[in-house]
Symmetry: C2
Subunit: 440 residues, 2 copies
């Protein structure tokens, strides 16, 4: 299958940040065959698309999500103990493979509408998430969670590892879905399990590890109380800090911990809106990146950050770093776009395959409509994207050369049914929340 997109402003996000005005891109068998500016090549039999001056850029990479939690979106807002008051009790009661599929479908729908083409997920019954990602046409890393708080899909860590092995068995070799292991966090797994994960991981090269790390003040307390260490130092004693680890949050880091993460080759998923809504202060993203740690822009679960597109994270990512640095200079717009594409891909170990528009890479790309008055004038296209675009500006989405959305119509999911199914599950949550609140 040959596709030619012409008459586009192409942002390649390659090392030199090459942009092609009046650009074209030639896709062959799902791979970028050529691209440039000026007169496009003559390709008989190609599907030719006139982009009408719209922007083409790499599909965005969301390196930390709990997709099924769309069903909890907006629940328990502004409540400090909502994890223990609402989330865990409802999860124990309601999380089934079917619920995970329903919630993950709503998440995939929203991400495609917002220009996200790759996602790293960690939740329960993760094979279901893999199926949803597969059907939606997206690319994803699906992580089986391991935790000690009586989670919905394993009664013991042995059972959790068995589930992980099954997941790896099912998705090994899948072109778009990568299986992963996801110890929930230091405090919910403990040293023995993290050591076991590190060892398991050595026996499974190419399987990413995902974990919440240095996210919460209570985690600092737990590590200090039990080991006299901070979270990163504690994690390092277990051998889990190594290339392939996607560390989510990393809010609480000191200078030596930043250097240690760089040295160990860890990637970080930064969750600006989730951290901001939790009142957790600002993660040291600028310092991490300066130390050489790749940092992607992530949404976290929709109960924490509400939306699953990256565009609505852009301004917060930049503003929080400028606030932390006390100046306009930190985190310029172009860097935000790098984080949302190639750097997120690097965090997931997918940077050879996706994250930029370069010859030989997979054709994971999005088209953005630049016609909204709020985007103009455009003195700097990256600034327009970061500070004035909205997820609704994304018009078309392609993964591996296949269209997932054209003209805002998602082609791989039944939008009405997906939303209807989600609202039905939400009704049962609503009843449960009333019961929880009444019992207090």
């Amino acid at each position: 299958m040959t596709v030619l997109i012409a008459n586009a402003l192409i942002l390649t996000i390659d090392q030199a940040m090459t942009a092609h005005e009046n650009g074209w891109i030639h896709i062959e068998g799902g791979v970028i065959a050529a691209l440039g500016s000026g007169k496009p090549p003559d390709l008989p039999g190609a599907e030719v698309i006139d982009a009408g001056g719209d922007l083409i850029m790499p599909g965005m990479v969301n390196p930390h999500c709990h997709m099924a939690m769309t069903l909890f979106r907006g629940l328990g807002e502004d409540v400090d103990d909502r994890l223990f008051r609402y989330i865990l009790p409802i999860e124990r009661k309601f999380v089934t493979p079917e619920m995970v599929a329903v919630g993950s479908r709503l998440a995939a729908l929203e991400m495609i509408l917002g220009g996200v083409t790759s996602v790293a997920d960690m939740y329960y019954f993760e094979a279901e998430v893999g199926h949803v990602i597969d059907q939606s046409g997206m690319r994803g890393v699906v992580g089986q969670t391991l935790a000690d708080f009586d989670p919905p899909d394993h009664k013991s860590f042995d059972e959790g590892f068995a589930r992980t092995n099954e997941l790896v068995g099912e998705f090994a070799g899948h072109p778009r879905v990568t299986p992963s292991i996801a110890p929930h966090a230091p405090y919910s797994t403990g040293p023995a399990v993290l050591k076991r994960v590190a060892k398991w991981s050595e026996a499974h090269p190419g399987v990413p590890v995902q974990m919440h790390l240095a996210e919460m003040a209570t985690e600092l307390d737990w590590c200090a109380r039990n080991f006299g260490l901070r979270p990163v130092g504690f994690a390092d004693t277990t051998g889990i800090l190594k290339p392939g680890l996607v560390a989510a949050h990393c809010r609480y880091l000191d200078r030596s911990e930043i250097e240690l993460l760089a040295e160990r080759g860890v990637g970080v998923a930064h969750n600006a809106r989730s951290n901001g809504k939790a009142g957790r202060g600002i993660a040291p993203v600028t310092a991490l990146r300066k130390a050489g740690v790749p940092v992607g822009i992530a949404t976290d679960g929709p109960m924490s950050g509400n939306t699953l597109d990256l565009i609505s994270q852009f301004a917060p990512v930049s503003m929080f770093q400028k606030t932390l640095g006390g100046s306009r200079r930190p985190m310029p717009a172009a860097e935000v776009i790098r984080m949302a594409t190639i750097e997120g891909a690097r965090v997931l170990g997918l940077d050879e395959k996706i994250g930029t528009l370069e010859v030989g890479k997979q054709a994971d790309l999005i088209r953005i409509d630049l016609s909204a008055p709020r985007l103009h004038p455009i003195y700097d296209i990256y600034s327009a994207l970061v500070f004035a675009a909205t997820p609704s500006d994304v018009r078309d989405v392609m993964v591996s050369g296949k269209w997932l959305m054209r003209d805002r119509q998602v082609l791989t999911l039944d939008r009405k049914k997906v939303v209807r199914d989600a609202l039905q599950v939400a009704e049962s949550f609503r009843i449960e929340i009333r019961a929880i609140d009444a019992a207090r």
Copy 2:
């Protein structure tokens, strides 16, 4: 003219935050005649609109803007000294009545598309802004700026006051455009001029005063060096702190200054994205509101905050206060919506007229399409608006019973021409910027 909107989720934002599910609202001669839920009244000859379950809420109020600066949007991003490097030189050279009209039209277009129905502006040749607001159908407070940095429309303060008197003469009694006087800031006017403004203001009751206050670290230095005071204390010595003053920013306040602003009856325009992008830290909005100071959500000029809708300010407003408070609890979503409507109206002295949907108030309202998957499920409608809506979700806009937008089509401005005119002016700025950069 009689309008009946039925089958809507109506958020009144009245004191009790009354919401009408399956609600209707009856508008007569531009005024809200009745509203409720259930079966709507039978109104022969009325224009009847079935809102199809969409949301109806008060139009939003933007209490601090420099509309014409849309033409500078995204210019000099990430540059700490951009005010002196770019803005002032370009303003001196290019700001004409025509440029102000062109830039303000783009701003009005964007604000209507984003659900803003009222705006307080301060800039130059402000009568032009008044004309644009009048033609666009919006409601506005237009403030003639007074400043000592050789601004484009007055060579002396005497000339500035003369311009202000003309502006007041032209718009006195206008149903939607309120003239205003706008001393730029303490450091750019000085004590004698602020005293003169305070006195002028006493002779012109009902004319709001707008001023940047306690915005910048350099302002703190200026006040300390010259008067041994902080900005609010200095301003108080001039008599300018009184009801009717719209104080923009108020980033640098201590406890006693917050109490003083409350005591003096000053209103505050909070610019979350503008301050965030400038790396200025977080304004004490929660403390101001607790002290009884009304605080509206403002966009600042588009060179500072980029967009002119309030929806893209919502999540930052809440997240920054939660970050400042170190908890999820500060600034719940419903409070953000109050700030964007009734509280902004109070800041501008318009709260008797607009800001809520109540019988007898002007019919300034917007319709929001709730169909986007990112908004669902909805456990809390205010949370959905604050953390997941985008300006593109606004579908219809009405001011004083007149439709300014239906189905995303702005009816009062020629969208294509407005954008084209703006891009033409931007071309001349582009050439000038190159010259400035080349000369460095």
